[in-house]
């Protein structure tokens, strides 16, 4: 039997959710190989991700690129499925990332579209909020609301998380953040700005019963790695974000794109160890982790590689990520 964990990708349109997913997948084998874990996309996902990866890498062919022009926008809601398991064995856990059309949380989305996103959010144990770091950080946050839809994202959570009683994890994942991770001070500034701009969301998640049930982690991901923000040019009142390579001969070298996965598995493993019996929804994990001692150890080793500095921070719910055996 295969257990399935559903993860919602959230964020304004064009922020880079699919790119995040692509680099997560691409980097998995590079960083996880030694642990004898394997991430296998289903055939359809594999095709899409390959295309997207080619696009991402092609960004590096030119010295300079404009965000949103380099990569095609996601045409429709897409479900990316990865099976995770021990190398050479039948995979027994599916990670379903739902990357929906970014416009669905825009103001002009239809009620049906909005409802779909809402349901998705309710059903997902983990939410990955992609944040366009350049829009967040540049020009005194002038373009932040327009691009990251911070307010709408917050409102979605407020509606979806009413009456939630099972543990959840929210990953705030700034992307295109190469410039802001170049040194310690900039990374701290990025963290501060996220907390400030998402204060309303964080306050909500830290209120009442949610505080005990929702783990919140900031996981910055450098989806391309060697490209930094250059400037914004406004044409027809629309901002065009320009990025350039740090060096002319730089190549595609994403950083920390394994981190969201590490946190994700850590969260699942922690849930397993805690044996929250009454939370039936996590029961499936027992069976999966129970398959073999070896797999659990591999996953635990992988999960222990979660970063907590250089822009990474467990904002709340540290106990939901504990790997102590109980």
């Amino acid at each position: 039997m295969t257990a399935t964990v559903q993860i919602t990708m959230l964020g304004g349109s064009g922020v880079g959710k699919t790119s995040l997913l692509t680099s997560m997948y691409e980097q998995f084998n590079a960083t996880v190989g030694v642990t004898n874990l394997q991430l296998t996309p289903d055939l359809e996902s594999s095709a899409i991700l390959s295309d997207r990866l080619a696009e991402l890498k092609s960004l590096l062919e030119d010295f300079e690129a404009t965000a949103g022009q380099g990569i095609l926008k996601t045409a429709q809601k897409r479900l990316f499925q990865f099976d995770i398991g021990q190398s050479g064995r039948r995979p027994s856990l599916s990670l379903q990332f739902v990357d929906y059309l970014g416009e669905w949380i825009d103001a002009d989305a239809t009620p049906e579209e909005k409802l779909q996103v809402l349901n998705l959010l309710r059903e997902s144990r983990v939410v990955l909020v992609a944040i366009d770091a350049a829009a967040l950080m540049e020009e005194n946050r002038r373009w932040n609301e327009k691009i990251n839809r911070t307010q709408q994202v917050t409102d979605l959570f407020k509606r979806a998380y009413q009456g939630v009683y099972e543990p959840r994890m929210v990953l705030l994942a700034p992307v295109k953040c190469e410039k802001y991770l170049s040194h310690e001070q900039a990374a701290a500034e990025l963290q501060e700005t996220i907390k400030k701009e998402y204060r309303s969301l964080l306050n909500f998640l830290a209120s009442g019963v949610l505080k005990e049930k929702v783990a919140v982690v900031i996981t910055p991901v450098q989806t391309v790695g060697s490209v930094i923000f250059s400037r914004i040019e406004v044409r027809n009142r629309e901002p065009h974000f320009f990025f350039r390579k740090v060096r002319y001969d730089s190549v595609y070298s994403p950083k920390d794109s394994d981190q969201p996965l590490r946190y994700l598995l850590r969260f699942l493993l922690s849930m397993h160890y805690r044996r929250f019996g009454r939370w039936l929804l996590f029961d499936f994990l027992r069976e999966w982790f129970g398959v073999g001692h070896y797999l659990r150890e591999a996953i635990e080793e992988f999960a222990r590689g979660c970063k907590e500095s250089q822009g990474f921070e467990v904002v709340q719910g540290r106990e939901l990520l504990s790997l102590d055996h109980q």
Partner: protein
């Protein structure tokens, strides 16, 4: 210097003038027979120097007086517009323009005089029409030959002036002084255009060379030989320009050997074969040599250009040179053996010389030299003709000179004995008296000018008449002042409030300039082409160095465009100045004090009205001169944003295998990135001009309204200008009015500047002369 020669007593045909104080300060040659002639000459020169300094002092005083008269004139003109008919007529009657004219003339005279007295040599000028033996005379006097002083056997001599100085024991050499391009156009070419009515003279050399010469007007071109000849001469200047124009930018002086002189002054080569135009570029040649005659002293001879040539500038140059440079004139004339008499051209030359120095009768500083030729010469024996002309000099020639000498100009011994000895002796014995006479006549005119000035000042003092003040004036004034004070303070307060409200808003004028500058930077990027990068790489041998140099260039290019923000800053600060000025003019009713408005109003108040009110004056001045500049206000704030275009600071280094394309892409990206950062930095400061405007207006208001004694100060000021502010209530030129006081002060300043001692350079005792 040779001092062995015997002193020669004066034996001039003219009597020396009576000597006054100047003469008493100078050595009396006749009293000291043991002194050599060269010593006497040295003493004359030495005694002139202090006088030159005194004259300079008087020139300085006269310039000051001229300024004071100008100030009085401006004040008068202002009052003529304000006053009633009778007073305006009296004011207009003060003839300040005539005084200024005389002053200018006397300044020119003093300039000549001080030039003469400041010289460290005595100058003998030699003039004469062409082919009279002038050059021969100079050769005989100086011991030089036709190599150094070309004579005009074949052609006319050129218009180049040469000075031949005696310096004992020195091997002969010469210095050539060229015209500058400007001097050439103004002094040589322009006079042709004016005299031949050819229209506007060329302003640049390439204009002269490039455009065809304007045609000579029909009424000048037919029938008259002279304009035609002059026109041809001008055409030669133009057509041969390529042969000499380089010399117009050559450094002066150029030291040359005596053998080379001919190349610079003569129209032809020694063999007469080729023509030479180098002399067109030469202003003057100075030859230094040791004269053969003994006991000469510090003497120079000036060879003045021959008349009869068509060089137009010659006549004016001749007169100017005579006036400034010459102490004694030798007029040279060669009587024709075939028969000769005095003619118009002789008299014209004589009159020309006389005009050069009207203060000194020509008969006291000129000799006539009749060039005697022998039977073997081309002219034949002219001794009889010499005697005839000598006898009829006064009766038919109507010329008077110190002495008429007959000598063979080609015979050095004869010239030195008959001419130079005579002239030097005259110089030694009479120069002091001549100097005095010259100085005295200038001094007398200055004293008369001083009296004229005082006569006009007296008119100025009477011009305003007296205006009685009404007894009830003060209470009325107080009531009016209270009203204007309330209006003025209210007006400024309202303005401050308005400016306060705009403090945090972007200043639209400045914003527009910022946008324009950014747009210019965006479109005018001066990014190099691939080819240019390759060329530069080859020059430096490395892309890295080419890249770094381009970074510097892009950065400076960018900052240069931002200098244009000065204009935006100026306009934005002018705005607040205008707003404050408008309140002062309207609510403060100060518009009647000056026709100027806006910033000029503030300046006019500082210059004309508030001199006596240091507190207000300083505040007005501060406001009027307040400026925000790009360098002072913006530059340092955007400096950091330029780091990426600074080689040592940029984060974008070239890769290990760079190419021209990479260099271009990196430059392009960094340029736009920097421009973006500059834009962000600048948009943070768009409201700053408004902040500054509020601050300066508030400071102004504080100082002029709220400082201690401010109200009392304004009350006094308004009282002084009450006639101008409330014209229907008060007399304009009432007692204790500012305009009356300023008028009196201006008169006082002229009075001060025209004290008799300010005009005096001949000191003590000369009143009796």
């Amino acid at each position: 210097m040779n001092t062995d020669g015997p002193p020669v007593a004066g034996q001039g045909g003219a009597k020396p003038p009576r000597e006054g104080a100047l003469a008493s300060r100078l050595p009396r040659p006749s009293d000291e027979p043991a002194v050599s002639r060269s010593d006497q000459i040295a003493r004359i020169i030495e005694s002139r120097q202090p006088l030159a300094r005194d004259i300079e002092q008087v020139q300085y005083h006269l310039l000051h007086l001229s300024e004071m008269l100008t100030a009085l004139e401006q004040q008068r003109d202002r009052m003529v517009q304000m006053g009633e008919e009778g007073m305006s007529a009296r004011l207009r009657d003060i003839d300040l323009a005539a005084l200024q004219y005389k002053l200018t003339t006397e300044l020119e005279n003093l300039d000549r005089l001080s030039h003469r007295f400041a010289r460290d040599t005595l100058h003998i000028g030699v003039i004469g029409r062409a082919r009279q033996g002038k050059s021969r005379l100079l050769q005989s006097l100086s011991g030089l030959t036709s190599t150094e002083i070309p004579d005009g056997d074949r052609q006319h001599c050129t218009g180049v002036r040469s000075t031949i100085s005696h310096n004992p024991g020195v091997a002969p050499y010469a210095e050539v002084w060229f015209y500058t391009m400007r001097g050439f156009l103004d002094e040589v070419i322009a006079p042709y255009y004016y005299q031949l009515r050819l229209g506007q003279p060329p302003d640049r050399l390439d204009e002269f060379a490039g455009k065809p010469l304007p045609a000579l007007a029909a009424n000048l071109s037919t029938g008259y030989a002279e304009p035609q000849a002059k026109y041809e001469h001008l055409r030669r200047y133009r057509n041969t320009l390529d042969q000499y124009y380089r010399l117009l930018s050559a450094p002066s002086p150029r030291r040359i050997s005596p053998q080379e002189i001919r190349n610079y002054v003569a129209q032809d080569t020694p063999d007469g074969q080729r023509t030479n135009v180098t002399h067109f570029a030469v202003r003057e040649v100075k030859v230094v040599c040791s004269f053969p005659q003994e006991d000469v002293g510090k003497i120079a001879m000036i060879d003045l250009p021959g008349l009869g040539d068509t060089g137009i500038g010659d006549q004016e140059r001749l007169i100017a040179t005579l006036g400034h440079e010459v102490d004694i004139i030798l007029l040279v004339r060669m009587p024709r053996a075939a028969g000769d008499q005095w003619s118009d051209v002789d008299v014209q030359l004589y009159d020309l010389a006389r005009a050069a120095l009207p203060d000194l009768p020509l008969d006291q500083w000129s000799f006539l030299v009749l060039n005697r030729t022998s039977a073997l010469s081309n002219n034949g024996d002219n001794l009889k003709n010499c005697r005839d002309l000598q006898d009829t000099l006064t009766s038919e020639g109507h010329m008077e000179v110190i002495d008429c000498l007959v000598a063979d100009c080609a015979n050095p011994q004869e010239v030195q004995h008959t001419v130079l000895d005579r002239v030097l002796s005259y110089l030694a014995s009479h120069m002091t008296a001549l100097d005095y006479r010259y100085a005295r006549s200038c001094q007398d005119r200055l004293l008369s000018l001083q009296q004229d000035t005082h006569a006009e000042l007296e008119k100025a003092r009477q011009a305003l008449g007296s205006v009685p003040s009404a007894a009830s004036e003060f209470p009325l004034f107080q009531r009016l002042f209270r009203g204007v004070w309330d209006d003025l303070t209210g007006g400024l307060e309202r303005l401050l409030k308005e400016l306060d409200g705009q403090r945090t808003r972007e200043n639209p004028v400045f914003e527009a300039h910022v946008e324009r500058a950014l747009e210019v930077c965006r479109t005018d990027t001066v990014l190099p082409s691939i080819e240019a990068i390759e060329i530069r790489r080859d020059r430096f041998g490395s892309y890295e160095m080419a890249y770094q140099e381009y970074l510097h260039e892009l950065r400076t290019h960018l900052t240069r465009h931002f200098l244009a923000l000065d204009e935006g800053l100026r306009l934005s600060t002018d705005e607040v100045k205008e707003q404050v000025a408008a309140v002062l003019v309207q609510q403060g009713r100060m518009g009647t004090l000056t026709p100027s408005r806006g910033v000029d109003f503030l300046r006019a108040m500082v210059d004309q009205m508030l001199q006596e009110y240091p507190l207000f004056c300083a505040s007005f001045e501060t406001l009027a001169t307040f400026e925000l500049s790009y360098r002072g206000f913006i530059q340092y704030r955007i400096r950091r944003t330029l780091d990426e275009l600074t080689p040592d600071l940029t984060s974008l280094a070239l890769s290990s295998h760079p190419s021209a394309y990479e260099v271009l892409e990196c430059l392009c990206s960094l340029y736009h990135e920097t421009l973006y950062k500059v834009r962000l930095a600048l948009t943070n400061w768009l409201s700053e001009p408004n902040e500054a405007a509020f601050a300066i207006a508030e400071e102004f208001t504080d100082q002029v309204l709220r400082a201690e004694g401010a109200r009392e100060g304004w009350e006094r000021f308004y009282y002084e200008v009450r006639g101008e502010i409330w014209a229907s209530e008060f007399q304009k030129f009432g007692e204790s009015s500012m305009v009356r006081r300023q008028w009196q002060e201006a008169i006082q300043r002229v009075d001060e500047a025209s004290r008799p001692d300010r005009f005096q350079f001949l000191r003590g005792g000369e009143e009796g002369v």
